[in-house]
């Protein structure tokens, strides 16, 4: 391990120690600011999440189901993107949601609040994914709560250039009703 990595690991440990025990406590979410809802309405809005380690991922499925929270569809969990979302939830590492409609770009510091693997929000996001492509599937839906607006530094803006959609798992993560399991696809 290099000195730099050791330093990062120690800082990570410290952050985790500080956040432990606070993570599961109940609090009311703050509502999304109107600017976020406006940006989300733009048809060509690019939606990114920058994680605590600087990794930035494009999540086109990011939307607000109720004008209060954000939700995204994660196609597969055994991926870097899946682990990054889980790390943010488990260890209270807020993320920066970045919305860019081409004219305006804005950052929002958010808490990764809940992972849904069943229930109404899960179903809503799954149906959105399948409406786009019936052969697509979704491992889980993730609920994000707004904390505060966040200034986008030069570094954060630069990271957007290299951002890609969530990576793919080695093995497809299909539900049992996926058409591939019923001879209804060429896959």
């Amino acid at each position: 391990m290099t000195e730099r990595n050791e330093g990062q690991a120690q800082r990570g440990q410290e952050q985790r120690k500080q956040s432990q025990g606070k993570q599961c406590q109940k609090k009311q979410p703050r509502l999304l600011p109107p600017s976020a809802l406006e940006l989300l309405k733009a048809p060509d809005c690019r939606k990114y999440i920058r994680f605590a380690d600087g990794k930035t991922v494009l999540f086109p499925s990011l939307s607000s189901p109720d004008g209060q929270i954000l939700a995204l569809a994660l196609e597969e969990e055994h991926t870097e993107a899946g682990r990054a979302l889980l790390d943010a939830l488990w260890f209270s590492h807020p993320v920066c949601v970045i919305l860019d409609d081409g004219n305006r770009i804005q950052g929002y510091r958010m808490e990764v609040y809940r992972c849904h693997i069943a229930g109404p929000l899960f179903l809503k996001k799954l149906l959105e994914v399948r409406a786009e492509d019936p052969e697509k599937d979704m491992a889980s839906a993730w609920e994000l709560h707004f904390l505060e607006e966040e200034e986008l530094t030069k570094e954060k803006r630069a990271a957007l250039l290299g951002a890609a959609p969530a990576d793919r798992a080695e093995i497809p993560e299909w539900h049992l009703d996926h058409p591939a399991l019923h001879g209804q696809t060429g896959r």
Partner: protein
């Protein structure tokens, strides 16, 4: 006395690399939880109301006769928590319904620990098969797992040879052998609900009948798996939890069905304790043969597709158990290391003493034992690159050690 929140927060500080949610789950299983009247009333509504019939039919005294017990609990990270509703817990958590917030709250007295949710009611519940069998009696549901029971009794109870920690089928409502057409129709109905299930789990009580022994059970499992398989065009994500069969038998099952993984639960790793606590398994198969067959199964199903589970804590139960948690931990970690070397995933589940079992109601090992065990098992399996894709947080939820795998590459 240290409160539950204080105990959990202390665990979070002592094990900063472990998920606070998994630690909370262990604490909830250890202490138990009770539902307030408001929560139980909310859980009778159509989005949560589970079935009245449970395929594993365990007897619990403290359940109100006019209410249906809910499915398992889901923490915010989707960690599944299985609670024996109606058990007589000494100092349980409370789960309340807050109508103003529209949320279930996990509480210790008036202190809100977190918001929680429950496994939603699957849409096939309340429906019947063409034979008139309630589908909820054929299959049980977790968040992503459909559970079928091929044979709703265990013949190891004949002559008192059942596993000493077991209380399955003590509720008196079991159906015996399941009908294959009922299975086919129930699975077909379950699959109509979009994205509701990603694994089918088949198990049942042990039936050693037939010649050679277990042949009746094996043929029954094949029939049931074939009935399930009529809903698919090829193999489907599935697990069979059954006794340890010979490689030849497993090859037969694999060839005839769409099964993808296999779980012969050893229950107790230590050989002498296995012989005492699992007398039926010892009589019909034996510890060494159980281990050998479990390892052989990897050649049929593949590395990481064979699991075995211990009922952690029962190895410390009186009168025969280990005297210290360190001895118990050493034994289980040795078992995990052995199996991991051979491509088998060795999992733990938390033993909840039940008065209907032969061990009866006796104190559990301390919570810290379960934390150290989950951490140790996870670290060993990780070092061998093993990932429990069939027994993970989503497809089982009974194993804190596999809940910890979610960050593994």
């Amino acid at each position: 006395m240290q409160g539950k929140r204080a105990e959990w927060e202390k665990a979070c500080r002592e094990y900063p690399d472990l998920s606070p949610f998994v630690l909370l789950k262990m604490s909830m299983v250890w202490h138990g939880a009770v539902l307030t009247e408001a929560a139980l009333d909310r859980l009778q509504e159509p989005d949560y109301c589970f079935g009245k019939l449970e395929p594993f039919g365990i007897s619990f005294g403290g359940r109100p006769a006019d209410k249906v017990m809910p499915g398992g609990i889901l923490l915010r990270d989707a960690t599944f928590v299985y609670i024996n509703y109606g058990e007589n817990y000494r100092d349980p958590y409370q789960i309340d319904w807050d109508a103003g917030r529209g949320e279930f709250l996990l509480k210790e007295g008036e202190d809100v620990i977190d918001t929680v949710d429950f496994v939603p009611r699957p849409q096939f519940f309340g429906k019947t098969t063409s034979r008139g069998t309630p589908m909820e009696a054929v299959a049980e549901a977790r968040a992503q797992k459909l559970i079928l029971t091929a044979y709703q009794k265990c013949r190891l109870w004949e002559g008192g040879k059942q596993c000493h920690f077991c209380a399955f089928f003590t509720g008196g409502h079991s159906l015996g052998e399941v009908d294959c057409e009922d299975v086919y129709e129930t699975v077909r109905e379950a699959l109509k609900e979009p994205g509701r299930f990603s694994e089918i789990y088949l198990s049942g009580g042990t039936d050693f009948g037939g010649e050679p022994p277990f042949s009746r059970e094996v043929e029954r499992y094949i029939r049931v798996l074939q009935a399930i398989g009529r809903n698919f065009s090829g193999r489907f994500s599935s697990q069979l939890m059954a006794p340890a069969y010979s490689r030849k038998v497993l090859e037969h099952i694999y060839k005839e069905t769409g099964l993808t993984s296999y779980c012969p639960n050893i229950e107790i790793w230590d050989k002498k304790l296995f012989q005492k606590l699992c007398p039926g398994k010892e009589q019909w198969i034996g510890h060494d043969e159980w281990v050998r067959r479990t390892v052989d199964a990897v050649e049929v199903f593949g590395r990481g597709k064979v699991c075995t589970q211990v009922v952690a804590g029962a190895e410390l139960a009186g009168p025969w158990g280990f005297e210290t948690v360190d001895e118990a931990l050493k034994s289980n970690l040795e078992g995990c290391e052995f199996f991991a070397k051979n491509g088998v995933i060795f999992l733990s589940t938390i033993w909840r003493p039940h008065r209907a079992s032969r061990l009866g109601y006796q104190p559990m090992p301390p919570l810290d034992y379960y934390i150290r065990l989950a951490k140790g098992l996870h670290e060993i399996r990780k070092s061998y690159g093993l990932l429990s894709t069939n027994d993970d947080y989503k497809h089982c939820g009974n194993h804190p050690d596999s809940d910890l795998e979610r960050l593994d590459v």
